[in-house]
């Protein structure tokens, strides 16, 4: 339709705008005024009417997915979920243990190795910078993961 074609109520809607509003029209999400404009536009625009019919059909086809009925084995599902929960607890304990051991290791390294005047300075510097670099890299990876988690758009999808 051309921009100056008018529907029965005299409202003008360009095809480009109508195509976007079409989604709201199909989903029943337009205001009464917008819906009236769309009806007017569809009454005089065969191209948009065709689009309307196609997208309406596509929507109905997609709605079929909501009617699917997966038949699941709850016993098996529970068994694996339980295993997953138990494994999660195991990982937490493992990480806590590793963190404690790593902390202790760093303490020992700092107090007994890096400050030991009998160890050549170049060795102490090498070990010190290597450890510092590893810690910086680890912190950087953790920071990046946390940042991604925080800014992930769909993380909070719920209602």
């Amino acid at each position: 339709m051309t921009a100056d074609q008018r529907g029965p109520t005299g409202a003008v809607l360009r095809c480009a705008d109508a195509r976007v509003l079409l989604m709201g029209f199909i989903d029943g999400e337009l205001s009464a005024d917008e819906a009236r404009q769309m009806e007017d536009h569809l009454a005089v625009c065969p191209a948009c009417r065709g689009e309307f019919a196609t997208y309406q059909q596509l929507g109905r086809a997609a709605d079929l997915l909501a009617q699917e009925e997966p038949v699941v084995n709850n016993d098996l599902a529970w068994e694996r979920i339980y295993d997953g929960i138990a494994r999660g607890a195991g990982w937490i304990l493992l990480w806590v243990g590793m963190t404690l051991l790593a902390g202790w290791g760093l303490w020992v390294l700092g107090a007994e190795f890096l400050l030991d005047p009998e160890v050549p300075l170049v060795i102490r510097l090498g070990v010190g910078t290597f450890t510092l670099g590893a810690l910086l890299l680890l912190t950087n990876i953790l920071r990046e993961r946390l940042y991604r988690r925080k800014t992930e758009r769909y993380d909070e999808v719920m209602r």
């Binding site: 196609t54 997208y55 009925e69």
Partner: protein, 190 residues
């Protein structure tokens, strides 16, 4: 499951009970698999749903007492599904394998419906993960635009334009997979 029982089980889980998480799994696993099935395809739907239930138990302390369980779980379900889609995209798994329907899944009584649902699964597998999530939340979970807007943190108008773009993409894939199907459906409905 009635709301009071659900809250009681959730309270017990927050106190550390694992066993009382089972009634929640029994009540919602099938529903969760339907959602993950639409997001990642039938083959991997149960794995992803199980992973989400494990994550949900781990995060149970963040569930607000008094709120229903499934909407909260749904928020968790989407994330492993998206991670899965990305990893599969990297592995370039064929769409036919992704969308293969196990024999025990049904999609309405009519075989035409089943054929159409299968086609939609195959088409969805070709849609980008963000758009796929949007389409699935709309069509499978029945989100309204306001709900999509609030929970995706985008304006209502953007929801509409993104849905348009996502449906354009979906339509292009459907027409590529079966150029006549939409026309046939329109004729059948007429």
């Amino acid at each position: 499951m009635d709301g009071a029982s659900e809250q009681r089980y959730l309270d017990e889980c927050r106190r550390g009970s694992v066993g009382l998480f089972r009634p929640l799994v029994d009540a919602y696993f099938s529903q969760a698999v339907r959602l993950t099935g639409a997001l990642v395809g039938h083959c991997d739907a149960e794995d992803v749903a199980r992973e989400a239930f494990v994550a949900a138990y781990g995060a149970i302390a963040t569930h607000e007492p008094g709120r229903p369980f499934y909407p909260w779980l749904r928020g968790i379900l989407v994330n492993p599904a998206k991670v899965f889609i990305r990893s599969r995209n990297r592995a370039r798994v064929r769409v036919e394998i992704v969308a293969a329907r196990p024999g025990h899944w049904t999609a309405g009584a009519k075989s035409d419906d089943q054929r159409l649902a299968d086609l939609m699964h195959r088409a969805l597998a070709g849609v980008a993960s963000d758009d796929r999530v949007l389409l699935v939340l709309k069509h499978v979970e029945g989100y309204t635009y306001d709900e999509l807007s609030v929970h995706l943190g985008i304006p209502r108008g953007t929801v509409m334009s993104r849905l348009y773009r996502a449906r354009q993409r979906l339509r292009a894939i459907v027409e590529e997979l079966d150029p006549t199907i939409i026309r046939q459906q329109r004729r059948a409905d007429a």
